[in-house]
């Protein structure tokens, strides 16, 4: 293989082999060619080995030099003057040697090498001298451990991995007494189906194939002869030849084409392909990858009811990172606000865009969140009071102008902003218009909440004010999505202030819709651009993110799209895609719209008289309403209901979002369903042991028996020398009758495998096999827990029981009677009578140990 490097011409440099069709050579000549090639290959190989050996020799030389230095260290340190630790014994030994030497007489003649036998030579080395010369060293008594095979602790059962199988594998035993006799294992019964494994072509064969064809051309005869010489079938050779040609062509193409730079291999696939491994490798029962109990490629189960998006309270306020949409929006919003303030404070003729102004605005915009929120508050609080001073349009204008330097996107929208701002006023009218339409009532608050939730979930714009409000209402779990677009933001902003400023009824719903169309259009343009950068994979990932986290771009970005898209990008995309859906769905929802509008406005009115807190909310609602009004909403009722439900929940769950919604009770005795600790408290039913529906005979046992297994509420088991023989398991604390002690864990193996292993274990007369069910046998030989060391007894103090836990059969060990602390544990292995080993057959000998007695074929059986 790597030997190729030394061979003269290697496949890579060979010309393509397709060209030669002509062959006028006799078979003999062809064979000669092949033979010479083979010889060449052989000599190349030996050259290669020689080279490798020489390289290695050099390495070894360095190593041994170093080791020699190390070994000299002691001598250098101690010098020759140090105590010669071995001197005494050495002297004894020499004395002894010389003694033998003299008795030997001539020992030169006694040695022989090769065939130079010296038959007369006899060595007379005797044991007499030895005994006198050597002082034995007393070995301090150390108690020997009972024998065991090194084992690995398992806290749960594991499926056997394929490479652990003994089936079809030859196992060699040696005669325990003689020590040398080799007995080949029981592979007689099943012919080890050595299915003629397809041997891959090695480089050398390819080389011969190529070169031969190159020299003598292609013909059936050539291929046949090649097959003969390479001891392969001619069809193999033909196939390989075709492969080689194909490869050559491919190689050419690759060489011509340009290799692409490294790309994330997943990025071009769609998510389903990428999720494939997730679906295959993730165990939904154990919530781990590569589950060693249930294996890969489990059936996928999709729950019927949709899960609520994951949510977390504290993510709300904190920006998730430098690219968080919050930061982006805030800085933008800030610019607006600050510009307003500037306007207000300085009473500048705001329309002018003097450079100085811009700078100032920017400064303020760049300030920290704290300032921002303060200004927000003051704004929201004050906007209602102060407004008159500036023209809204101009303020928006200047704000956007101020931003335009840094923000690419904003430039596009300045014009739009201006337009929007103008229209805003008209929209305002619409609002106040509906105001009059709306009825007032006690349900107002409710409606208000609904509106809120609606706004949140639908993600319809918000302004700086909303933000400040929301921070007060921090209990909300739903991500407070702030605004979708700067233009809208500015709009809402000014809208809000406008609103509180004047409620002149001027209404024109037509205007509203016009505006909305305009905005939508704008969106589309942006979207097209964006779409280019969103690969299908990313889109799919985003969809998943929505499913999992809801509309929280921070969480989606952090957990799913890190390195792909930033939070703000996701946020924008989220908003656009939503827009698209909404507008696609068209209109016809005016009624609902109107309602909402009305509600919102009513609330706003009500709140006017409220305190600061309410005021903040007021303005929030007010601005919301505007935007809502501007959107044609589809399926309003449905959505509304859904959202409100969600909201209700969120209110219920104010302190903690994790609190589980109470599930409907699921009776564990329903078909094939075992106990679930969340559901079956105080369950009277003895679960999973075949006595479904029958109340437990033990009145004092209220619990389902599988629960302690599931929750691993087990007793401390100690491993020690058995009082009976070998190892034993002992109990640390005393327990009552029927109490759960622990689980008997091990490898899950098939019955076929168990039969094979049983035979091996029988030779060692120690078996840790335990029949679990029709499919599996538990083997605790190399993997298990301490309970595997509990000995057999016909009169045991424990019993084993197979119990269904979370869909799996598991073996629990229970106390048969009261067991006091420190007692050794025994249980009846329940051998089938015909398979029981000798020591398990005699009930008269209690506590006989599995290590003793004659081999058996048996293994512990589940009692049924």
């Amino acid at each position: 293989m790597s030997a190729l490097k030394t061979s003269t011409s290697v496949s890579g440099s060979d010309p393509p082999i397709g060209g030669h069709q002509e062959t006028g050579l006799s078979p003999k000549a062809i064979v000669a060619v092949i033979d010479s090639l083979k010889k060449q290959v052989a000599s190349d190989r030996s050259l290669f080995i020689k080279k490798r050996m020489e390289e290695n020799t050099e390495k070894v030389l360095d190593v041994t030099k170093n080791l020699y230095k190390l070994s000299m260290k002691e001598e250098i340190i101690c010098g020759d003057g140090g105590v010669d630790l071995l001197a005494k014994r050495q002297k004894d030994a020499i004395d002894m040697h010389s003694g033998i030497g003299t008795s030997n007489g001539d020992n030169e003649s006694s040695s022989s090498q090769e065939d130079g036998y010296a038959p007369s030579a006899i060595l007379l080395g005797s044991s007499i001298a030895v005994k006198n010369a050597v002082r034995p060293i007393k070995l301090p008594e150390v108690k020997k451990l009972p024998p065991y095979t090194t084992w690995i602790f398992l806290d749960r059962n594991q499926r056997m991995t394929e490479d652990q199988s003994v089936v079809g594998r030859r196992r060699i035993y040696y005669d325990q007494n003689g020590g040398e006799a080799l007995i080949c294992s029981d592979s007689e019964e099943e012919t080890v189906d050595d299915e003629e494994e397809k041997k891959d072509f090695v480089d050398f064969e390819d080389y011969i194939l190529r070169t031969t064809i190159k020299e003598v051309g292609v013909s059936d005869m050539t291929l046949d002869l090649l097959a003969q010489c390479l001891s392969r079938k001619s069809c193999e050779i033909k196939g390989r030849y075709e492969d080689l040609i194909k490869n050559d062509n491919a190689l050419c193409r690759v060489n011509n084409g340009n290799a692409e730079g490294f790309v994330n291999p997943y990025i071009d696939k769609d998510l389903d392909a990428a999720l494939d491994s997730f679906d295959n490798l993730f165990c939904r029962r154990c919530l781990v990858f590569d589950c060693r109990l249930h294996g890969c490629s489990q059936d996928l189960v999709f729950s019927a009811e949709k899960q609520l998006p994951w949510s977390c309270a504290d993510v709300e306020k904190e920006p998730c990172g430098p690219n968080c949409h919050r930061l982006v929006l805030e800085s933008e919003g800030n610019a607006i606000v600050s510009s307003k303030q500037t306007n207000f404070v300085e009473k500048t003729a705001t329309a002018s865009n003097t450079p100085g102004m811009q700078i100032q605005k920017r400064k303020q915009g760049g300030k920290s969140v704290r300032i921002k929120s303060m200004s927000c508050q003051s704004e929201s609080a004050s906007s209602s009071e102060i407004k008159p001073n500036n023209d809204v349009t101009s303020s928006v204008k200047s704000a956007s102008a101020g931003r335009s330097g840094g923000d690419k996107r904003s430039s596009k929208r300045i014009a739009e902003n201006v337009l929007v701002a103008k229209k805003k006023r008209q929209k305002k009218m619409a609002t106040s218009d509906s105001d009059s339409v709306a009825g007032s009532g006690l349900s107002l608050k409710d409606l208000n909440l609904r509106t809120n939730s609606r706004r949140e979930n639908e993600d319809i714009s918000s302004s700086q004010k909303i933000k400040s409000t929301s921070s007060r209402k921090s209990r909300r779990k739903e991500s407070l999505v702030l605004d979708f677009d700067k233009s809208l933001q500015g709009e809402a902003d000014s809208g809000a202030s406008n609103e509180s400023e004047s409620n002149q009824p001027m209404a024109s719903s037509g205007d509203t819709f016009k505006k909305e169309e305009f905005v939508d259009e704008n969106m589309y343009k942006q979207e097209i651009i964006d779409n280019k950068y969103w690969k299908p994979f990313e889109k799919a990932l985003y969809e998943k993110g929505i499913q999992i986290f809801g509309r929280n771009s921070c969480l989606i970005a952090r957990n799913l799209m890190s390195g792909l898209k930033s939070c703000s990008e996701i946020f924008i995309y989220m908003h656009r895609s939503e827009k698209k859906i909404l507008s696609h769905d068209g209109d016809g929802t005016i009624l609902a719209d109107g309602c909402l509008k009305a509600d919102g406005n009513e609330t706003a009115d009500t709140n006017h008289s409220g305190n600061g807190y309410l005021k903040g909310r007021t303005s929030l609602v007010g601005s919301t309403v505007h935007v809502v009004a501007s959107l044609p909403v589809e399926k309003p009722v449905h959505v509304l209901l859904m959202m409100s439900k969600e909201l209700q929940e969120s209110i219920q769950r104010v302190p903690l979002c994790q609190e589980s919604v109470s599930k409907p009770p699921m009776p564990c005795f329903a078909a094939d369903r075992e106990c679930d600790p969340d559901v079956c408290r105080n369950c009277w039913i003895s679960c999973g042991d075949g006595t479904l529906g029958v109340p437990s005979q033990r009145g004092d046992n209220y619990e389902c028996r599988n629960m302690k297994l599931l929750l691993k509420q087990q007793q401390r088991v100690l491993l020690g020398r058995s009082d009976v023989s070998g190892w034993g398991a002992f109990l640390k604390n005393s327990v009552g009758k029927h109490e759960y002690l622990g689980e008997y864990t091990g490898e899950l193996i098939s019955h076929r495998e168990a039969d094979k292993r049983g035979k091996i274990y029988d030779r060692e007369n120690s078996s840790f096999l335990f029949n679990l069910n029709d499919q599996f046998v538990l083997d605790a030989y190399r993997k298990g827990d301490k309970l595997k060391f509990a000995n057999h007894s016909p009169d045991p103090n424990c019993y084993a029981k197979v119990i269904m836990v979370a869909g799996d059969h598991r073996v629990g060990i229970f106390a048969k009677e009261r067991i006091s602390a420190g007692e050794e544990l025994f249980y009846d292995y329940r051998y089938e009578p015909d398979r029981a080993p000798a020591w398990a057959k005699k009930p008269e000998a209690p506590g006989a140990k599995r290590e003793d007695g004659a081999p058996s074929n048996g293994r512990a059986k589940k009692h049924t």
Binding site: A42, I49, T64, L85, L139, L182
Partner: protein, 351 residues
């Protein structure tokens, strides 16, 4: 075994002796009637290069003990130690100066088949056991640092183990499951260091399991009873009348996988029983292995093709030779036999 494909054949040494060196028997000891399983020269401390140790069941007054293996080691202060183990699974560390047991290590669940010393840190030893594990011990503190066993471990007795001569993290082990496994303790090296400074009870040391070897080689189809690193190659033997030198080619990305390139074979006739081990001189120039009939084959390990330096035989040597020991420069070869004899062969100056 599958047919070796063209171009990957090993170079097989010729059994015709080169007569490069001649050896003669210079001594023979009868140690008792029970087999002697191990004989080993001290390569750890240059002051004692001429000292050797043997191990067997003779003169052990404990009924249930019979030593299978012995290795030279030393304490961190340089005191030479002998580390021996055998039938009952207890490792005995003997201070050769004071002739006292320095420590006894209990832990293995069954017999110990081989003990080897880390030449770069001679207070570390590894032991191979019938309990299917290989364990790394610090003989200075008496700590069992690592256990090489578990999910990827041996599936039957471990018969032999060896430290890589230069890569301090690496060991190779082989046994009755017919495989050779290469293990790395690189990720666990902090525990090795910790073991030197451990002051608490050795039993409280957080012994770690190394469950997965970095390489599993199926070079043989029967018990593999001896393996030794020769540089980066491994020389190993089974019961197939030959030593095999091969190169493990690991795939860096996927541990446990890789291929084996069998480079050379050194035939050893009548060497078809297990627990016959070979030895090399200090520089790994030659390897000596005995056979079932009491003959010794001395191969030049590193030449290509391999050269048989000498075949040693003596009319009175009929008993299987369990292990040989080559002295520092290979001029003396010792061997211990099933019948309890120890033989000494010395090179004859060829003038």
């Amino acid at each position: 075994m599958a047919k070796i494909p063209l171009g990957c054949e090993p170079v097989v040494g010729s059994l015709t002796p080169s007569k490069k060196r001649e050896y003669r028997v210079t001594n023979r000891l009868q140690e008792g009637k029970r087999p002697i399983y191990a004989v080993v020269f001290n390569f750890i401390d240059s002051r004692y290069f001429n000292a050797f140790a043997t191990a067997g069941g003779n003169r052990v007054d404990q009924k249930d003990e019979s030593f299978y293996t012995v290795s030279w080691a030393c304490n961190i202060d340089g005191t030479p130690f002998l580390v021996a183990g055998g039938l009952n699974g207890i490792i005995r560390v003997i201070d050769t100066g004071s002739e006292k047991i320095y420590k006894s290590f209990v832990g293995h669940g069954d017999s110990i088949n081989e003990i080897r010393t880390q030449p770069l840190k001679p207070s570390l030893v590894v032991s191979a056991s019938k309990d299917e594990s290989v364990r790394l011990w610090n003989i200075h503190t008496g700590i069992c640092i690592l256990i090489f066993a578990g999910a990827g471990g041996h599936r039957n007795e471990v018969l032999s183990v060896d430290f890589h001569p230069s890569d301090i993290y690496r060991i190779a082990s082989c046994g009755m499951d017919n495989t050779v496994k290469i293990w790395s303790m690189k990720e666990f090296w902090t525990y090795v260091e910790k073991s030197f400074t451990w002051t608490d009870l050795p039993s409280k040391f957080p012994t770690k399991y190394v469950q997965f070897p970095v390489f599993i080689a199926s070079v043989h189809t029967n018990y593999v009873d001896c393996n030794r690193w020769i540089g980066d190659f491994i020389l190993s033997k089974s019961v197939d009348n030959e030593l095999v030198l091969w190169e493990p080619k690991m795939k860096e990305q996927s541990p446990g996988e890789g291929t084996v390139d069998i480079l050379q074979k050194y035939p050893v006739p009548e060497c078809d029983i297990w627990f016959i081990k070979f030895s090399c001189d200090f520089h790994y120039k030659a390897a000596a292995v005995g056979n079932r009939e009491g003959k010794i084959y001395v191969w030049e390990v590193q030449s290509s093709p391999p050269v048989l330096i000498a075949r040693l035989s003596h009319v009175q040597s009929k008993s299987p030779i369990r292990l040989t020991a080559m002295s520092f420069d290979g001029s003396t070869i010792l061997c211990c036999c099933e019948d309890g004899t120890i033989w000494r062969w010395d090179v004859v100056a060829s003038s």
